[in-house]
Every structure is written in C-alpha cells, then in structure tokens.
C-alpha cells in the first residue's frame, strides 16, 4: 500500500511541477495578476511554444490521472480481486 501511495504521489509531484513551470512561462501575465491560470502571454506560438503548451496539458493530466490510478483505481481492482478470490474459495 505504501508503494502505491508513493507512486501516485510521485506522479502528482512530477506532473504538478511540470505543469507549474509551463503555466508560469505561458499563463502568468504579471507578477501581481492571475498566477498560472491567466491568459496566454504570447500571440503567435512557434513550434516550440506549441510543444510546450501541449506538454503543459500532458503534465496536468499525468498528475491527475496518475494519482487517481495509484490511489483509487488500482486499490479498487485489487480489493475487487481479493473479494472474488474470497467468494470462490
């Protein structure tokens, strides 16, 4: 159980750090305005900008889905399998 927690936590931290970095570059117009959720700061994204924007979304969903997978989905599956084994035994 501790391992599963650590894996989910690692997903959350790595994804969150990447998301925070890219949102800090592209979605933080000013120091005293909206942070990380502001409007896009560039007009015409180059190829590298597009890659970075895609990576921002990827990091976000990696954090959310990774934590959900290791904290909710996999424990549910193992519980369900234990339940099935118990019933068949």
């Amino acid at each position: 159980m501790a391992d599963e927690f650590m894996k989910g936590f690692a997903c959350l931290m790595v994804g969150g750090l990447g998301w925070m970095t890219i949102k800090g570059w592209y979605n933080t117009p000013s120091f005293e305005g909206a942070q990380l959720t502001g409007e896009l700061t560039i007009e015409e994204p180059t190829t590298f900008d597009q890659i970075a924007l895609f990576m921002g979304d990827a990091f976000f969903w990696f954090a959310v889905l990774g934590a959900l997978t290791f904290w909710v989905v996999l424990p549910l599956i193992s519980e369900f399998q234990a339940y099935l084994n118990e019933r068949s035994a």
Partner: protein, 254 residues
C-alpha cells in the same frame, strides 16, 4: 528468554554490544529463525550491518566504546545526501525556470495605500485590533482603563508569554498527538488561532462581515480544538503506545 539477557553479557566491546531493550524484543536466535519475506530481509540487513561493525571494531585500534547504534556512515549519511540533493535540485530548478520578477524599488516619499507587515507577522498585527475586547469600566465613567493601542500591545505580551511557557507546562514523553489528545487539541487551537487572528488583521481584504469575522476568530479555534480532541480520542483505540516508551527506556549497559 533472550540469550543476551544472561548475566555474562558484555557491553564493553568484547561481545556484540547488543542488549535487548526488554523481554519482548526478539533475540538474535529468534530473528535468525525467520526464513522469508520482510522479516528475513530485515534479519539479513541487521546481520550484515552487525558483521561489518564487528569487523571494523576488530580492525580498528580505537578504544572500544558502549554504543548501541548504527554508525552514521554510511547508514545515515546516504539518506541525508539523497534528501539534500533533492532539495538543492529543487531550488536550482525552480530558480532557473521561474525566476521571480524584480519590481520597481520602493518609493520612500509616498505612503502606500494599504500598510501591512510581512505575512508572517499578520497574527501580531491582528492582536493590535482587539479594541472591541478592551473592557469599559463603569467606575471610570464608561471610559476605558487603557487605550486600545496599549491593550493591543499587552495582548502581544500575553500571547508570546503563553507560547514561551508552554514547554514548562508540559514536557511529556508523547511523540504522537494521539498519546496526549488534550495537549494536541491545545496546540491545534493555537495553530488555528494564529491563522484566524492573521485573517482578522487583514479584515478589510476578507470578504466577510467584520463583526462575524471577529467572532469567528475566537470561535473557530475552540471548535477545532474540540474536533481534534474527539478525533484523537477515537484514534487511541488499538494504538501501540508501548513502542515509544520501550524505545526511550533502553536498558543502560551494565
């Protein structure tokens, strides 16, 4: 029961130097009988550490001492190096990728619209705003005993003084909150009060009626203390308090 527990145990460096803390700790022979899983792995780790320690003792020309512990190198240092590297790496990464903006220098000839201390002093700033608690005395004709500002400064003295005497009130042996729910609840109410009094200090910026905020400043700590006490009291059941007591009551070497 333990074979270390006999009278001829030596802790002057001639033996293993290992004394069972009490009768419930497994003896070396009992550890050795475990043949699988984590208990086996634990045994092998301890056995290897003990063996390395023994070899070092035999090789070295240092005077033997009574030390019931693992050497700091490499057991503790490897963990510390890993943790230190992680945090240093974090600092480098964040400062390289998200450098903070350098705003304009402060203009010393203009008074800012909102005057606030740094955020970590908000609680002290909030204590200066306890004017409504300053009692009116009827024998003084309804006037106050002391000015509101004096009262606020005295409130700081009281709070800081209380924090200063807490270590002398209770220096119990508890290492976890469940072991002493009452004191954990007192501490929790203090933490929450430091947050609510900080919110009171910036009441102009809090979207709430200021009288309600003033009442909540003192009610929320009491409520949180009650909840903490109830939760910890419920968690007590089945908790192994003996682990701590045993750990801190290691039998001294003979």
């Amino acid at each position: 029961m333990s074979d270390n527990d006999t009278d001829d145990v030596r802790t002057d460096g001639s033996g293993t130097g290992i004394v069972s803390p009490d009768d419930e700790t497994p003896a070396w022979s009992e550890r050795k009988e475990r043949t699988q899983g984590l208990s086996r792995l634990t045994y092998e780790y301890f056995e290897r550490a003990r063996r390395e320690d023994q070899d070092l003792r035999q090789e070295s020309d240092y005077i033997e001492r009574d030390v019931l512990a693992f050497p700091a190198w490499p057991h503790e240092m490897m963990r510390n190096i890993a943790l230190t590297s992680f945090f240093v790496g974090m600092i480098l990464f964040v400062s390289a990728t998200l450098p903070p903006e350098m705003p304009n220098p402060a203009n010393s000839s203009v008074t800012p619209a909102i005057i606030l201390p740094d955020w970590y002093l908000y609680w002290s700033f909030g204590l200066l705003k306890l004017g409504p608690l300053n009692p009116d005395l009827s024998i003084l004709g309804g006037s106050k005993l002391m000015a509101d500002r004096t009262y606020g400064v005295l409130a700081n003295v009281v709070v800081v003084g209380f924090v200063a005497i807490v270590p002398f009130l209770n220096k119990g042996s508890a290492r976890r909150p469940v072991e002493q729910p009452f004191w954990a609840a007192v501490g929790m109410s203090g933490v929450i009060f430091s947050l609510t009094i900080a919110a009171l200090s910036i009441k102009n910026l809090v979207p709430m009626d200021s009288h309600l905020l003033f009442d909540l400043t003192f009610l929320v700590p009491i409520v949180s203390a009650t909840i903490t006490y109830a939760v910890l009291k419920t968690m007590r059941e089945g908790y192994m308090f003996d682990l701590n007591r045993r750990y801190y009551r290691l039998r001294p070497p003979k």
